[in-house]
C-alpha cells in the first residue's frame, strides 16, 4: 500500500499531517531562519553549509556562466538573510521557503541576462558531503511526497517540467528544444503542476484523516 509504505519510510510524516504542508522535521530546522533573522552569524554560516550546494547546483543550471551563477547565489543568500524574519513554519517548511526565494531570484536573473545554457560538464569540485546533504533533504516528508508525485508522471512530462522548473527554460525555449507546439508545452506544464499539487494535497488529507480520524 503506497500510503502505508510512505508512512513507514518516513517517520516524520505525522508532522506533515499536523501542520498541513508545513515543516516536517521541526527539530532539525528549529529556529535556523529565526536565528538568521536575529543577526546570528553562526546561524547564517549554518544556512550556507546546509543549503549552499543546493542553491549553487540550481543556479548553475539556470544561468549561463559561472560569474552569473556566482552573483546570483550571493544575491540569494542576501535575500534569504533579509527575508528570514518573514519565515512562518505554519505556512511552509524551511526548505520550501528557501527554494521559493531561490527560484524568484534566479528567474529575475534569467530575465535580466536573457541567456541560457544547459550545463553539460560539471567543472565544479564534487564531494561526499553533497551526497549526505542530499539524503538529509530526502528525509523531509514534503519532499518525499513531491518526488513520489514527480515519478508518477511519464518521462516526457517529467522532462518538460524539469526543463521549466529545474533548469529555468521558458516555454518558448522548451517548444524549440523539443520541437513541440508552444500551446502543447504550456498546457502540459500547467496540467502537470496541477497534478503534483493535487497529489500532495490528496496524500496530506489522507494522512491527516489517518491520524486525526
Amino acid at each position: 500500500m503506497p500510503l502505508l509504505e510512505l508512512i513507514i519510510n518516513n517517520l516524520s510524516i505525522k508532522d506533515t499531517a499536523e501542520s498541513g504542508m508545513a515543516n516536517t522535521n521541526p527539530k532539525a530546522n528549529e529556529n535556523l531562519l529565526a536565528k538568521v533573522a536575529s543577526g546570528n552569524p553562526e546561524a547564517f554560516e549554518e544556512l550556507i553549509n546546509k543549503y549552499g550546494n543546493l542553491i549553487w547546483s540550481i543556479a548553475r543550471r539556470y544561468l549561463s556562466n559561472q560569474n552569473e551563477a556566482e552573483d546570483a547565489v550571493q544575491e540569494i543568500f542576501v535575500a534569504l538573510w533579509q527575508s528570514a524574519g518573514r519565515f512562518d513554519p505554519n505556512k511552509a517548511s524551511e526548505i520550501t521557503f528557501i527554494s521559493m526565494i531561490t527560484r524568484r531570484r534566479l528567474i529575475d536573473n534569467l530575465r535580466k541576462n536573457n541567456k541560457h545554457k544547459v550545463l553539460k560538464s560539471i567543472e565544479d569540485s564534487l564531494s561526499d558531503d553533497v551526497f549526505s546533504q542530499k539524503s538529509n533533504l530526502e528525509e523531509n516528508a514534503e519532499i518525499s511526497l513531491v518526488i513520489r508525485a514527480l515519478k508518477k508522471l511519464d518521462i516526457q512530462d517529467q522532462e518538460l517540467l524539469s526543463l521549466s522548473i529545474y533548469q529555468g527554460y521558458s516555454h518558448l525555449e522548451i517548444a524549440k528544444l523539443l520541437n513541440l507546439p508552444l500551446g502543447t508545452v504550456k498546457t502540459k506544464i500547467r496540467r502537470n503542476l496541477m497534478k503534483i499539487r493535487e497529489d500532495i494535497k490528496r496524500i496530506n488529507t489522507k494522512v491527516k484523516h489517518l491520524y486525526h480520524g
Partner: protein, 269 residues
Amino acid sequence: MDRKDKEKQILIELLALSAVEHLSFEDEQKLAQLLLHYPEYTKDDFAKTAALSQIGFYLMDDTANETLPSEIRNKILKTYDSTSDEKNTLPGFNFNSLFKTLIKPAYAWSITVMLTIGLSYSMITFKTYENNYRYLPLKRMVLKNTAKDLMNHPWYGKTSDFETIQGHVIWSHDKQKGFITITGMPINDSSLNQYQIWIVDPIKYLNPVDGGVFDITTSEKEVIIPINPKLPIFNARAFAITLEQPGGVVVSSQPLLLTAPKERPKQKI
C-alpha cells in the same frame, strides 16, 4: 460546470502558469480580478508546488553533485560581515531611558499620531522602493566585493547648478553591471522629465549608450541607482547624466549635467 466552477478552473490554470512563466498583461489582470473574487486562493499557491518540485528534480538528478566553491562561500560571508559591521557601528543609544520617557501618558497621543503619519509615508515610499530599488546597497556591496575589474570614478558637475553634487560611478566590465551614487541632485518632476544615464564607449558605438532613466526624490540623502545598459559595453570611457523627457531618449541633444570620465578633467582657469 457552472460559472463559478469555470472561473475557479481558469483561476487555477492562471495560478499554475504564473508559477513557471511570466503572464501576459491581460492574464495578469484577469488573475488579479479572479483572486479578488476567490480569496481562498493566493498568488503563491503554485509557487510553493514549483519550489518543491525544483528540489525534487535536484534530488532525482544524479549529476547534481556540485559543491558551493569555497571562494564564493567566503565572499558571501564577507558581504554578511561587512554589512553586520556597518550595523554594529551605528551610534550607541540608551533605549531604556527613551522607553521610560515614551511610556508617559503625555507622550502617548503625539507618538500615535506621528507613527500613523510615518507608517503611511513609509508604505508609499516602500512600495516604490520595493519595485525599483530593492536591496541596492547590498547589491552594490556584492559587486564591490566580487568584481576584480571594478572602475570607480567621481562625478564632475558640468554646469554651475551641479558643481556641488557629490558621488561616483562604479562599473565592472566583466559583470556588465554598475551603480551610481549621488547626493544633492535636484529633485525632478517625473511627469515632465527624468534623469538619464549615458555610457560613453567610443570605440564600439558612435553615440553614448543608454544606461537607464531615474528619478530623484530627495536631495538630502545619498541615492543609489543601478546602471542598466541597453547594449553590451566593451570599453566604458566615461559616464554622463542628462535631463530628458520621461522614459528617456535614444540619442540625447540635452546638455550634460554630470560626467564621470576615466581621467580627471582639467580645472577651468
